[in-house]
C-alpha cells in the first residue's frame, strides 16, 4: 500500500452561517495525482485554502507528513512542503519571470538581511543557486526564453505555467494546482496534461482541482468529488465516471442521499 502524504480528517469550515466544507475527509498518497472535482461552489477552493493555511478550519485536522498543519502560518506550511497555484493568476506582476520563480526558491534560503548586506559567501552562493534553479524550472516548463520578461507582459498561458514553476521553486512535496487549465484551448490543455504528468514523474505529488472532466479523468490516479461542501465520492477515475451521485451532482439533480 502506498504511503499517505496528506490527510484531511473531518474538516468543517464555516463562514458566518454558511458551511463551505462539511465534515470532509480525504487523503493523498505519495507520488499520485489526486483530482478534486465538483460543481461550482462545491468547496474545492475552500478545501485548498484549508490545506495551505489560508483558512483555519472550524473543526477537524489536517496532517501532512505525519505532522499536524493546524496553527502553522502560511509560509511555514509552504516550507513544510506544500505549494500552490491560484485559480485567478496571482504572479508578482512587475517582477520578471525568473524573479518570480526565485521568490519560490528563496523559501529555503538561509540568507539573512545582515548576510545580504555583507555579501558573505553563503548568501552569494545561495543567490547564484537560486537563479540557476529558477532557470532550470523555467526550462522544465518551457518558458526560459521569457526569463527576463515582466510577469505581467507574458502571454496568458505562460503566466499559468509560470505559476506552476514558481510553486515548484519552493521544492514542495505536494503541489496543489487550482484549475490550471482554466481558459485553455484543447491543444493547450493537452500540453498541460503532459506537463502535470511530467511533474508527477519527477516524484512530486499533485493535488489537482479541475473543472474539465476530460483533463481530470485522463491524468488523475484517483479522484475525490465534492458537492455542497461534502465529499460525495472518492475512487479511481472509472469508478467516479459511473458513480450515480457524481452524475447527479454534475447534472444538477438535487441529492440528499450521499
Amino acid at each position: 500500500m502506498s504511503e499517505v502524504l496528506l490527510s484531511v480528517d473531518q474538516v468543517t469550515m464555516q463562514f458566518g452561517g454558511v458551511t463551505a466544507l462539511d465534515n470532509v475527509s480525504l487523503h493523498i498518497n505519495k507520488g499520485e495525482i489526486l483530482g478534486l472535482i465538483g460543481p461550482n461552489g462545491a468547496g474545492k477552493t475552500t478545501c485548498f485554502n484549508v490545506i495551505t493555511g489560508v483558512y483555519a478550519p472550524t473543526s477537524g485536522t489536517v496532517t501532512f507528513d505525519d505532522k499536524s498543519l493546524l496553527g502553522l502560518k502560511r509560509f511555514q506550511i509552504t516550507k513544510r512542503g506544500i505549494a500552490r497555484t491560484f485559480q485567478n493568476i496571482r504572479l508578482f506582476p512587475d517582477m520578471s519571470a525568473v524573479e518570480n520563480v526565485m521568490v519560490g526558491v528563496d523559501a529555503h534560503s538561509k540568507t539573512s538581511v545582515v548576510g545580504a548586506i555583507l555579501g558573505i559567501p553563503r548568501s552569494r552562493r545561495e543567490e547564484t543557486e537560486s537563479r540557476e534553479r529558477a532557470h532550470e524550472l523555467l526550462k522544465f516548463i518551457g518558458i526560459d526564453e521569457y526569463a527576463e520578461v515582466a510577469a505581467r507582459n507574458l502571454p496568458y498561458g505562460h503566466q499559468r505555467r509560470l505559476e506552476i514553476a514558481r510553486a515548484l521553486g519552493t521544492n514542495p512535496k505536494l503541489l496543489c494546482l487550482d484549475e490550471p487549465a482554466a481558459g485553455f484551448n484543447p491543444a493547450e490543455k493537452q500540453e498541460l496534461n503532459e506537463l502535470i504528468l511530467k511533474i508527477r514523474d519527477q516524484g512530486y505529488t499533485v493535488l489537482l482541482i479541475e473543472h474539465d472532466m476530460n483533463v481530470v479523468m485522463k491524468i488523475s490516479d484517483r479522484i475525490a468529488v465534492l458537492d455542497f461542501g461534502r465529499k460525495i465520492a472518492e475512487g479511481l477515475p472509472h469508478e467516479i465516471r459511473d458513480n450515480p451521485d457524481v452524475i447527479a451532482a454534475y447534472l444538477g439533480v438535487p441529492d440528499d442521499a450521499a
Binding site: F92, D94, M95, S96, D106, A150, R152, G169, T170
Partner: protein, 356 residues
Amino acid sequence: MSLTESFRQRTTPQLQLGNRFRALPRSAKWSLSALLIAALYLTPYWPDVPVLGWIINTPGTSFENVLTDQIMMFILVALGLNVVVGFAGLLDLGYVGFYAVGAYTTAVVTSGQFTLPWIAALPLSVIMAMIAGVILGTPTLRLRGDYLAIVTLGFGEIIRITANNSNWLGGPRGISKIARPPSIGPLQFGVLNAKPYWYLGFTVILIVIFVLTRLENSRVGRAWAAVREDEDAAELMGVDTFKFKLWAFAIGAAIGGLAGSLYASKVGFINPDNFQLQLSILFLAAVVLGGTGSMYGVIMGGFLVAWIPERFRGFSTRRYFVFGVVLVLVMVFRPQGIIPRRGAAAGIAKKGESDV
C-alpha cells in the same frame, strides 16, 4: 479587461541610458562612476561653474547650507523611506518620527548631562531609530495598507508632541549645543564652512546606496518586492511576510535616524518645530516624485523637493503653491515618477485585497 493598453512596456529615456551604461565594458563603467562620484563630491563648488552655477545656485541663501541642511537630508531620508514605501510597498506617513528620534538621540546624548562623543552618538541614534521602528512596526504591520498610513502618521505626531512636552527633551525650546563631528586635519566641522558636512554626508549616502543595492538584489529585495506586489501570494510562496516587512521598517527607520542625527549635528540646535507632520508629507513626496522603488529616482526626488523651494525663493511665499501645483502636474503626466523603477509597468493600480 480595459487594462490591455497598459500592458505595453514603456521605454523611457532614463531606462535607455541605464541600459547603455550596463552594456559598457567593466573598465568604462568604473571610470564613469568614479568621474560621477568625484563630480558629486564637488557639488558645493557647482555654483561657481558657468551655466550650471546659474541653474543650481539658490538666490538669497547659501547654496552650501541648502546642500547640507536640506538636500543631503532629503536624499538620505528619501533613500530610507523608499525601502519602506518603494521596496516593500508599505505606506508610511510618519517617517519624520524616526528622523526626530535620530536627531533627538544625538542631541540628548551629546549636550547637557551626557557628553558622548559624536562618533558614539551617531550609531546610537541609528539604533534608537531602529528600535523605534520595531516598536511601531510590531503591532502595526499586521494592519492593511491604508490603516498603516494613518497609524504611522499618528506616530510622527506623538514623537513631536512628546518632545514638545518633555523637559528633558528641552520642551518647545529644544536642545542646543549638539556635538559636531570631530575635525580631522583639513576637514574642520565648524559653523562657517559647510563643505565638510557635504563630504561626510555624501559618503554616508554612498554607503547607504551600496547597502541598499546589496539588499535590493538579494533574496531580501525579492521578498520585499513580492510583498509589495501581492502579499498573500508572497506568504503562500514561503515568504515570512511579517518578518520582512518589519525588516523594511527597521532599515527604513535606521536610515531616517541616521539622517536625523546628521542633521542635528550639522545645525547644532533642534526643536520640535523641525519635525512637523508636513515634513513627513514632503519626504513621501520626494519618494513618489522621483520614482517609487527606484533608488536613483528617489535621490532625484529628494534633491528636487529640497532644492526647488530654495531655488525659486524669488517666488517668495508663492513657492509652496508652486510646489503643490508641480506635484499635481508631475503625478498627472508622469505617475511613475521622474525616474521610474525598472520593470514598473505604466500604470495599473495595485490590486485590492481579495480572497485567495
